[in-house]
């Protein structure tokens, strides 16, 4: 049988893997992004132990391979009595890891924000939380849009590591199809194409969202 016919017959498995990966990615991206915003808010104008702790967390996440974090959560925690199912361990790892990266990106944008913006918010009586949510964060998002998009693609790719701890996702699906039917090249080409499609989707979304900044005069973003 033509290898591509085999792939077509196994399309159910590929579709399942694709949807699994998409689901993991979307949920993790959302939560990681929320965590990133929280972390940046936590760093806002704060000094002392809280800031050091948050800063330390972000720095550690940026110095660790993703898979090591996954191992820590999935294989390491049980020694402390915490047994996480694979999907949860993977999800938590994605959220913590990429949350830290999102925070670092937003923090970079934050340093570029003119001090006058905050002062105007304070002068009008905005409490810090509201000022951050309504006046600082929107500007950070507009300014760091391309970097955020980049990070989303990195998060998508990290979902493939989760197959190593037996989470159902696209690469694991390809591996299973190719090992049963001996079509390694075609199976993996198929999923490379599918990952590519998702990442093009992300890039299109990022390009489309450029209009928000452009309309408001944010150039070079």
């Amino acid at each position: 049988m033509n290898p591509w016919e085999i792939i077509w017959r196994a399309r159910g498995a590929f579709l399942d893997g694709f949807l699994d990966t998409l689901a993991i990615f979307l949920l993790a991206a959302l939560l990681a992004f929320a965590l990133g915003c929280l972390l940046v808010y936590g760093l806002e104008g704060r000094t002392g132990p809280t800031r050091r702790a948050l800063r330390g967390f972000i720095d550690v996440m940026r110095m660790l391979p993703f898979l090591v974090l996954v191992y820590l959560l999935y294989y390491g925690l049980p020694q402390l009595g915490v047994r996480l199912p694979a999907w949860s361990a993977g999800m938590i790892a994605l959220v913590l890891y990429h949350g830290a990266y999102f925070a670092e990106i937003l923090r970079g944008g934050r340093t570029m924000l003119p001090a006058g913006q905050i002062e105007a918010a304070q002068a009008h009586g905005f409490a810090p939380g509201k000022a951050f949510r309504r006046l600082v964060l929107p500007q950070l998002l507009i300014r760091t849009r391309p970097l955020l998009g980049n990070q989303l693609i990195l998060a998508l790719k990290d979902t493939a590591f989760l197959g190593i701890i037996t989470v159902q996702e696209l690469t694991a699906a390809a591996n299973s199809v190719q090992s049963s039917h001996f079509v390694p090249m075609e199976a993996f080409l198929m999923v490379i194409l599918l990952y590519w499609l998702i990442s093009i989707g992300i890039e299109l979304l990022i390009k489309w969202s450029a209009r928000f900044g452009a309309k408001r005069g944010f150039e070079h973003v």
Partner: protein
């Protein structure tokens, strides 16, 4: 029985890196008064203004806004919580040299943002009032534009409308026209003049001598952190007591 002063500053002191920027400042501003704060660069005038809404924290002394202690809890001497500080700040307004409009919001949204999200005003009501204020400063036709498309003078007028939307007890002006092209200065001063005529309480730090002379009720001169002269504009600009002030006025001509 006389009313409480809107702003009451007593024995205010502030240092930066060991350098004394404000020494023992006493100042009272009554309702409806327009006070101009003049002085050469480095005299501390901006710092004084920024202490009033606690954008700078003084080292010693007290500031009261409408009788309420600013920045410090009167009962125990400790700093106010962020929320309490914000609520007192909401009673003041500040117009900045750099305008500081929020670039991701339209002109109209800039003016409604604080009333809706700090005061809790309804969106429709806030919008109605915002349009009124924008008409007053001559910017209603740009209500759906974004700040990046405006000239400096236009931005500053929007900034003034934004401040007025909160109905502050006192409006602080931190060199509002210093960053403007000369042709644009007039349109902003016109708005400020109208405000003084309407009885707003205003404290201005400015280099526009003619304007200060025309609208002020009181002029205060800062030199190296101290008030060395305070007088009505008539006396201040024609016959000041201090030699230093004389020299300053000569140089400014």
């Amino acid at each position: 029985m006389s009313e409480l002063p809107v702003v009451s500053i007593r024995r205010l002191c502030k240092s930066f890196d060991g350098v004394e920027v404000l020494r023992d400042i006493d100042l009272e501003v009554k309702r409806g008064e327009v006070v101009s704060v003049l002085g050469s660069s480095g005299s501390g005038k901006s710092t004084l203004l920024r202490c009033i809404n606690w954008l700078e924290e003084p080292d010693r002394g007290s500031i009261h806004i409408g009788g309420v202690r600013m920045g410090v809890d009167e009962r125990n001497g400790r700093p106010l919580s962020a929320r309490r500080l914000a609520s007192i700040r909401a009673r003041t307004g500040m117009v900045f040299q750099g305008f500081n409009l929020w670039p991701h919001l339209t002109v109209l949204q800039n003016v409604t943002e604080a009333p809706v999200h700090v005061r809790g005003l309804g969106k429709e009501e806030a919008r109605r009032r915002a349009v009124e204020l924008l008409e007053k400063v001559g910017m209603a036709h740009k209500r759906d534009s974004y700040p990046f498309s405006l000239s400096g003078g236009q931005k500053q007028r929007v900034a003034i409308a934004r401040v007025l939307a909160m109905e502050p007890e006192v409006v602080l002006f931190d060199e509002p026209t210093s960053a403007l092209d000369p042709e644009r200065v007039g349109e902003v001063l016109a708005v400020m003049k109208q405000m003084s005529a309407e009885g707003h309480t205003m404290i201005l730090v400015t280099h526009e001598m003619d304007f200060a002379r025309a609208v002020s009720d009181q002029v205060v001169f800062l030199e190296k952190g101290r008030i060395i002269e305070r007088a009505a504009p008539g006396k201040f600009f024609t016959d000041p007591d201090s030699e230093r002030v004389r020299r300053f006025l000569e140089l400014s001509d």
